[in-house]
């Protein structure tokens, strides 16, 4: 449990959510309102500490009077607005968007994707066997982490985290256009030759497993990755005096990866290369 500082008080905005009068603090998004009302609106690209990019379009809802659907993750609740989250139109768009995503990328390591595909009765196979796919081989060019862009849904979260929203390293960006768009380093260079500082903050925010620890990638390939069997222990990083929180994911008494709590008021989930990857000494048995 980390300390969460109190926010200054905010005025309440009153609007109608699925027929019910709802009051949320000014500045809240429709998704915030849905979550506090206990509604489950699916979303992939929304990040708790990043500015919503609303690129995945899975969270679309119907706003009365609007020509198109609105992304719940970034559209702010306005006084008097009437929002419906579960209309035929919104469900149709979510279904098709899930089909488009699942038919072009590998969602096997995306949390909840399979559940939503079932819930919305999405059938990604109906575009046929010849439907174009992203079709990328995993990029394994260093010992710390793997980029498997076949799983990338282009949510921009890694770019935002590497850039001015978290890390300020700007090692990766979106390159190309249209279906050929990819997350890329400058000139598509290997990570060790790029500006990457291996903080791993991009892995922290990746919602699909396109970016993963080499340990996790290897164990998944070997079939030994067993998330339910893992324990998570949040502790303090011992490398320097900042005192970042690190969460150790342990399977069979070995640390398999390190994350960081996003609600930590100092680091908001950020770590450096040492905190994120420098855990081998803990399990050095010599």
């Amino acid at each position: 449990m980390t300390a969460v500082p109190l926010q200054p008080p905010r005025r309440l905005v009153s609007f109608t959510l699925d027929g019910e009068e709802t009051r949320v603090p000014e500045g809240s998004t429709i998704l915030d309102a849905c979550r506090s009302a206990g509604k489950d609106v699916p979303t992939l690209c929304q990040g708790d500490t990043l500015t919503p990019k609303n690129a995945c379009r899975v969270c679309v809802v119907e706003v009365e009077g609007a020509r198109t659907l609105a992304p719940a993750c970034s559209r702010r609740a306005e006084p008097g607005m009437t929002v419906r989250t579960d209309t035929e139109r919104a469900r149709h768009s979510r279904k098709v968007v899930l089909e488009l995503l699942a038919s072009s990328t590998d969602l096997s390591t995306t949390p909840r994707a399979a559940e939503w595909i079932k819930e919305y009765e999405a059938k990604p196979d109906r575009f046929g066997a010849d439907a174009a796919r992203v079709d990328e081989q995993p990029k394994i060019d260093n010992d710390l982490y793997v980029r498997d862009y076949d799983k990338c849904i282009l949510c921009y979260k890694c770019v935002d985290a590497c850039g001015e929203q978290w890390q300020n390293t700007f090692a990766i960006a979106v390159a190309g256009r249209g279906f050929d768009t990819r997350i890329s380093t400058e000139h598509d260079a290997a990570l060790p030759d790029s500006a990457c500082v291996f903080c791993g903050n991009c892995i922290e925010v990746c919602p699909t497993g396109a970016l993963s620890f080499s340990t996790e990638f290897g164990m998944r390939a070997a079939g030994t990755w067993d998330e339910p069997a893992q324990t998570r222990t949040t502790t303090v990083c011992a490398y320097c005096g900042v005192g970042c929180n690190v969460t150790l994911h342990v399977q069979d008494n070995e640390i398999v990866k390190v994350t960081s709590p996003h609600d930590n008021p100092v680091t908001h989930g950020n770590l450096c290369i040492k905190g994120r990857f420098g855990y081998q000494h803990v399990q050095n048995r010599d």
């Binding site: 995945c56 098709v96 072009s104 282009l154 090692a171 979106v174 390159a175 768009t181 000139h187 500006a195």
Partner: protein, 664 residues
């Protein structure tokens, strides 16, 4: 911000090209020789970098114009000069179709295969060209050719554009362009019926052609427009671009030129577009004087009373947009002229800018005055070299004469205009994508709200208007709102420009009062004997059947008929055209031009194209399943895409299925 650059060094030519734009680097931190002083030198950091990021697109153009492609060393040098992260600059460079980050020849031949050119034989030109020069994308004889989306030369289809990289001509083209020679009175340049077989007389030198004494070594930058194009002319041009025959004057695209009823087109083909005196002697700058007499609020009132709505396709009331921008407390305010005319089949803005550039500059000055802006940008599509030169020339002479600058017309109002060239991206015509492009970001649209009037260019209140919209402001101020509103219908006031292309005998730009019917327009242009369909509004528009030609050409009339005026495209197809292939080209266009930001558009446009490929030769039950699939995907694209590109990408195909029964 801790930026890491690569070790790649720029060539001398690349460095020169960038330094010519940005000036020499002041310190070792920006790519100059390191000195001891550099160790004590610091300036600005991240905020300084943000100040110069907007020079990224011009800098990429500078390198691409000089060398033909953007090498690692050149990109790295640009990044050092502007304090931009190399990964981000790479992301920007790979976004635009006119840039290459792989080596390629200095000469690139863009051959249009889009709707209007396809309807007039571009496929044959391409297959001939493949035989003579090899497959598209394969360098041969120091040149490479590639298929291109609409080049905006539809009245002279099939069209091609040759761009040769090299050093800038010794005499800047705007100073030497022999503009007057070609701008003959309209009677001499009116294309005869069946203009295709007999293109208008060619009198003017190719735009941007270097001085004749320059050696033909490929070292001098030039561009050549070839339209109508034949494979043999293209091969000759690829060998010696500077010897290319000149383009016909802009007036040749206006079959009605000289008609006293013309309002927006009245000067085109009758005055010299390079002469400010010609412009003034035909009423130029009276509208601006009236604007100063009325004051900003008075100008907005006139535009509101005139009922002017945007001509870029969305038909939003211009006066309301200006009022909302003018009222914003945040400053500075900006004016952006959207001259990124990339809708297939649209070329009216090109003709306006080439034939009457001062009109746009005067109109922008009025708009800037009304909204309280002191800086305007013309975001011009990269494929319009002649419009770029003529506007550049017009801006320079307007500045010299005190019509732009710190004290416009001695009225104490400061206003200036900068041209920003796009680099091949249809999406950059979307109003918020323009901001990102000017700011040096990828040309991806932004989410709305916030709307541009609140947070636009550089996060400041911005009014974005299309070229044709702006030019309408002149007759409003010259004759008053009431006189303007007397033309057209109650809700569609004034006149409208239509870009007529395809199988008509007199393709070109036509100006008609709102309310004229499609039939009247086609009668002017000479319709084909066996009309199959008319595509109204462009690739994002809809088809009209031959029995629907009485549809009134107004915003409300076309809406009631289930189609749209869009940007004024009227593409006429006779029954020799295979409609499934036209639809396939539309789908290809949207797939190519999707920015890739949101899923419905990025993947949906691909799925739409795949389905159209599957049913291209099928009808009835054999096509039904794929049509149902496209309907479902189309609905999600329309509902859930971020911007208009994805939202409209299914329109034309849907209307062809429903209204033309194309797969029945």
């Amino acid at each position: 911000m801790d930026l890491r650059y690569t070790d790649a060094a720029p060539s001398d030519a690349e460095r020169e090209a960038v330094d010519a734009l940005l000036g020499p680097p002041p310190s070792g931190w920006e790519g100059a020789e390191r000195t001891d002083e550099d160790l004590r030198w610091a300036r600005g950091g991240a905020s300084a970098a943000k100040d110069r990021r907007d020079q990224l697109l011009p800098a990429l153009h500078a390198v691409n114009d000089r060398v033909g492609w953007i090498s690692e060393g050149a990109l790295d040098y640009v990044c050092r000069r502007l304090t931009v992260a190399p990964a981000e600059a790479y992301g920007v460079a790979t976004f635009y179709a006119m840039f290459s980050v792989r080596p390629r020849p200095a000469k690139v031949l863009h051959v249009c295969t889009d709707l209007a050119c396809a309807a007039r034989g571009s496929a044959a030109v391409c297959s001939d060209l493949t035989e003579r020069l090899g497959a598209p994308g394969t360098p041969a004889e120091g040149a490479v050719w590639q298929e291109s989306p609409c080049l905006g030369l539809c009245e002279r289809a099939p069209a091609a554009l040759l761009l040769q990289a090299g050093a800038e001509p010794a005499n800047p083209p705007q100073a030497t362009l022999p503009l007057t020679a070609g701008e003959n009175p309209p009677s001499a340049t009116l294309p005869p019926a069946g203009a295709n077989s007999a293109p208008p007389a060619i009198e003017e030198r190719g735009s941007g052609g270097g001085a004749p004494e320059e050696p033909a070594t490929g070292a001098i930058r030039c561009s050549a427009v070839l339209a109508p194009a034949t494979a043999s002319a293209l091969v000759t041009a690829a060998r010696a671009p500077e010897s290319t025959l000149a383009e016909p004057p802009a007036g040749a695209a206006v079959p009605q030129a000289g008609d006293p009823a013309l309002v927006l087109l009245r000067r085109i083909g009758t005055v010299d577009p390079a002469s400010l005196d010609d412009y003034r002697s035909t009423g130029g700058y009276t509208a601006l004087r009236r604007a100063f007499a009325l004051g900003p609020a008075g100008v907005i009132r006139e535009v509101l009373d005139a009922g002017l709505v945007g001509r870029g396709g969305a038909a939003f009331p211009t006066g309301r947009k200006w009022q909302a921008t003018a009222q914003q407390a945040d400053g500075p305010h900006y004016l952006v002229c959207n001259a990124d005319e990339s809708e297939p089949g649209t070329f009216k803005d090109r003709v306006l800018m080439e034939g009457d550039p001062y009109a746009l500059i005067e109109a922008m000055t009025i708009a800037g005055y009304a909204i309280g802006a002191h800086q305007g940008y013309i975001y011009l599509r990269g494929e319009y070299p002649r419009a770029y030169e003529r506007l550049g020339h017009a801006l320079t002479s307007a500045r010299t004469r005190g019509l732009l600058g710190p004290d416009v017309l001695g009225q104490g109002y400061a206003f200036d205009i900068e041209i920003r060239r796009g680099a091949g991206a249809y999406i950059c015509g979307e109003e918020t994508a323009i901001f990102n492009s000017i700011e040096g970001q990828r040309g991806e649209p932004r989410s709305k709200p916030p709307f541009p009037v609140e947070k636009g260019l550089f996060g400041k209140p911005t009014a974005v208007n299309n070229v044709e919209t702006l030019v309408n402001v002149l007759p409003i101020l010259e004759h008053g709102a009431a006189a303007y509103a007397a033309t057209g219908t109650e809700t569609s006031t004034g006149t409208k420009l239509f870009c007529v292309s395809g199988q008509v005998s007199r393709p070109g730009i036509y100006e008609l009062p709102f309310g004229a019917s499609l039939r009247e327009l086609l009668d002017l242009a000479g319709p084909p004997g066996r009309l199959r369909a008319v595509l109204l509004g462009g690739a994002a528009g809809g088809f009209v059947r031959p029995d629907e030609l009485d549809v009134p050409l107004t915003f409300e009339g076309t809406r009631a008929a289930g189609t749209t005026l869009g940007s004024g495209v009227v593409l006429v197809l006779d029954d020799s055209v295979e409609l499934p292939r036209v639809l396939l080209r539309i789908a290809e266009f949207f797939r190519d031009e999707s920015c890739g930001q949101c899923v419905p558009c990025r993947v949906g446009t691909v799925r739409q194209e795949e389905a159209l490929h599957r049913i291209v030769d099928r009808t009835g039950a054999a096509a039904a399943q794929d049509i149902a699939l496209m309907r479902e995907v189309g609905q999600a694209m329309r509902d859930a895409s971020i911007c208009g590109l994805g939202q409209t990408a299914w329109n034309a195909v849907e209307s062809a299925i429903d209204r033309l029964g194309v797969y029945k």
